[in-house]
Symmetry: C2
Subunit: 191 residues, 2 copies
């Protein structure tokens, strides 16, 4: 028998996949139970509701990414280098979790208020990591002046939009896509 | 009595607003009829179904924007200047239709296949207008080499993402936001 943590991951991954395919509203808890080979009643050992699944899916995703970005932002490197690595890490996270990201962007309005507030705080934290590095670079004269928050939103938009167009079987390798996006993101804040 | 075209615009605007607030699936045709002061039966003089409303909302939006971008793309100006004006026009269209854009990005999967194909073709046409100008500039050595299609998607992402964060009552005026985004977009393709 699998360890519970492993089982939980499996349930979250299956939920992301099915939500993406059938839509959040079109998916039943039964669909998710079937996909992981559990009876509906047994699935409730792991989750309390469909909304709970949705919130945990996003939370895990954001938490891991924020932690990774935070480490890069503190590195002893130029602002442009840190920004480039942050965009690479962020873009990589979107590609690796494309289903969940698409789902999140479409469905976050379906979440109960406390979960929403929690997720909004993590999103703000993520944006602040980007805008702080950009502001750092602008102060040092290394990056262009301007609104660091708007610059961060522009870069996040560049990356987030991948959830609509990125195809794993596309012309370019994932690394080529990530490198080129990171390069364009850094250029967008260069003087 | 209002002219039918005016009435139709009013219905489309009300639908966009209510879809945004209650979600597409949570909105009934009755809600829309109430909002424009019509009986549900009378509303059916103007629309055939909720899906039809959704498709027409997106179609009108895309058609107007594609036409405007097409005119700018053909201007006798440098690629960077044309790109800047295209981004400005595109960003302005998103700000002016924020509800409909958000709705579209969340709900296009709900549309019947023919409407979806029609809308996908218009979106491709729009992206091609951007990538062609970028490719032009790269050939002339004025813009950076690289994948013009990826560059266009990065810029569209920068702009599209506004549907999530733009607030009419925000710190910056709409023009300041549009100008700064356009500047960052052009920089992202500069050598």
């Amino acid at each position: 028998m699998r360890a519970p943590a492993k089982r939980e991951e499996e349930i979250l991954a299956a939920a992301a996949r099915i939500f993406q395919r059938k839509g959040y509203h079109g998916t039943s808890v039964r669909d998710i139970a079937d996909a992981v080979g559990l009876l509906k009643g047994s699935l409730y050992h792991y989750i309390s509701s469909k909304e709970d699944l949705l919130a945990r899916l996003f939370e895990g995703l954001l938490e891991d990414t924020v932690a990774e970005l935070d480490v890069i932002a503190r590195r002893d490197a130029s602002a442009a280098e840190r920004l480039r690595e942050m965009v690479r890490a962020y873009a990589r996270a979107i590609i690796a979790n494309q289903d969940a990201v698409g789902l999140y962007l479409r469905e976050w309005r379906s979440l109960p208020a406390p979960e929403l507030a929690n997720l909004a705080a993590r999103r703000r934290r993520m944006r602040t990591l980007f805008s702080a590095v950009i502001a750092d670079g602008a102060r040092a004269g290394e990056l262009a002046p301007g609104d660091p928050n708007l610059a961060a939103l522009a870069i996040l938009g560049m990356c987030n939009w991948m959830y609509e167009w990125y195809r794993p079987a596309g012309r370019l390798t994932p690394d080529a896509v990530i490198d080129e996006l990171a390069q364009r993101a850094v250029r967008s804040v260069r003087p």
